[in-house]
């Protein structure tokens, strides 16, 4: 599954249970439906480990933060999955805002390159 737009891209690789988000997510609330679908598909496959790679995600608006937080809440139902979120210190917003995902899903691993 993947989304390829000029401003942003999302790719889900079931073999490695990895969702990679890149570019700038500045969508309206409704605009995140397709991204949510991919995130939930990755979660509902119930892999033992799931990686959300955000190292190339330059920008995320508050509707996007809401989308990722809802994904974390969704993952609470799958307690057999170890979730790792990969971030980058190159984009300072990530250090400020991604920690909220951990508050919603305490077992979530947050790794910064």
């Amino acid at each position: 599954m993947e989304i390829n737009q000029d401003q942003y891209q999302v790719r889900y690789e079931p073999d490695t249970a990895t969702v990679t988000c890149s570019g700038s997510f500045r969508l309206t609330g409704d605009g995140y439906a397709a991204i949510t679908e991919i995130l939930n598909a990755a979660a509902d496959a119930k892999p033992p480990t799931l990686i959300l790679d955000l190292t190339k995600l330059q920008f995320l608006n508050s509707s996007g933060i809401n989308t990722l937080c809802r994904f974390a809440i969704h993952l609470r139902k799958h307690d057999t999955t170890q979730v790792t979120v990969k971030g980058s210190t190159a984009f300072p917003w990530q250090r400020k805002s991604l920690v909220n995902l951990q508050r919603l899903l305490p077992g979530l691993r947050l790794e910064f390159d």
Partner: protein
């Protein structure tokens, strides 16, 4: 008579460094304007970063940090202004960025639907009275249950993630007192 909420200070005639951008809210459809929000926010952040020179890594890191925060906050404020602007009024939307020694002040002005004022002011009162951290978590849980609502996270992320102080001023337009002019002030420490 103006109603003030939170931490509000007026623009000062003595402000030396500032940039203001105005928009005609009805000139293009919302979807296209959404892209403009990003362009304007990035322009403001690029512009401001030139005030923080220096080649060493600490200066570069601080510059990137400020740039990222300005881009996020300006984008959120513009998204709000575009979304909640009272279209029939045709008053312009404006965003101003004023640079102080220790903070950046963002002033965003738009008209709002007179019927939406009371609900919005109640939301502001909650935001000011309750613990922002707690409210952030409550809002996320509520958003999960009520999937069709907006995120309602814009102001909360500014307070929680960026340590910003917020204020609001509601006042009627002189030439059309039925319509309310809203000025939102966000003060970002730098």
């Amino acid at each position: 008579m103006a109603d003030i909420f939170g931490d509000f200070v007026e623009k000062d005639k003595k402000d030396k460094e500032f940039l203001e951008i105005g928009f005609s809210p009805t000139s293009i459809p919302l979807q296209q304007r959404w892209r403009n929000n990003g362009l304007s926010a990035d322009f403001l952040s690029d512009y401001l970063s030139s005030f923080f020179p220096g080649d060493d890594s600490a200066s570069a890191e601080r510059r990137e940090e400020i740039k990222s925060a300005v881009s996020y906050i300006a984008n959120e404020l513009l998204e709000n202004a575009m979304k909640f602007n009272y279209a029939p009024s045709e008053y312009p939307i404006s965003v101003g960025m004023h640079l102080d020694q220790d903070k950046v002040r963002f002033y965003v002005t738009n008209s709002i639907d007179p019927d939406a004022v009371a609900a919005f002011q109640n939301l502001i009162k909650r935001l000011l009275a309750e613990d922002a951290n707690e409210l952030y978590m409550q809002t996320l849980i509520k958003n999960e249950e009520d999937k069709n609502s907006g995120s309602r996270l814009g102001y909360l992320t500014m307070i929680n993630d960026y340590g910003a102080r917020l204020g609001w001023k509601f006042e009627p337009y002189h030439d059309d007192p039925k319509v309310m002019k809203l000025t939102t002030l966000v003060q970002l420490p730098i």
